[in-house]
């Protein structure tokens, strides 16, 4: 878990971590149907995201959890019943 984000009126947003090469290179146009998809055996894309945990607002970086098994669960929305 990284440092706590400042809690202001602005809604903090998640950020996908990019490798140095990716940030330096100009955007390569991605042709339709050739989109990068998740594959078994590949590195999980790293990210940093604002989080709520133990009654605190904090920030979570996926790569901070290296060395442990991680279950990453997406769900459609808070209060959505299931």
């Amino acid at each position: 878990m990284a440092e706590k984000p400042a809690v202001g009126c602005k809604r903090p947003s998640a950020k996908v971590a990019k490798s140095p090469e990716e940030t330096q290179q100009p955007e390569t146009p991605v042709t339709q149907g050739e989109q990068h998809m998740i594959q078994i055996g590949q590195k999980a894309p790293d990210f940093t995201a604002p989080a709520y945990f133990n009654n605190e607002f904090t920030e979570v970086k996926l790569s901070d959890h290296l060395g442990k098994w991680v279950v990453l669960c997406f769900y459609p929305g808070d209060f959505t019943f299931v």
Binding site: A14, Q42, P45, A51, Y52, V60, G67, F74, P76
Partner: protein, 136 residues
Amino acid sequence: MLSMSVDSMFVHKMWVDKELSKMVTAKTVPFPMLSDGGGSIGKIYGVYDKDEGVDIRGRFLIDPDGIIQAYEMVAPPVGRNIPETLRQIQAFQLVREGKGTKATPSGWRPGKTVLEPGPDLVGNVWKVWTVDQAFD
């Protein structure tokens, strides 16, 4: 364990306070609830539904080296099977400890037959494993 939806962390707090805290004995959610506003992370994980503007029910198992070992995608109205996720983690941990010498057959649970793939096992799985072991 990390959970993630497009809701803000403020809404996560309200959900914990108003509902989830009444459902769990710990009175609090024991893992960080992450916010994916705009679905930027959901997009790279292939779980973002742009028409609905939400991340669908995707579940990824990531090993200690940061490698994706398993994933599951379920449409919103159907919930997950938590024991299956735990079973898969137990199986992957056993396989990892075995450093390539072990494999878990269908329906494996701790205590059930573990296979040791190799020349001697080719064509001989039927001698060490039966179909009824695929079921509980």
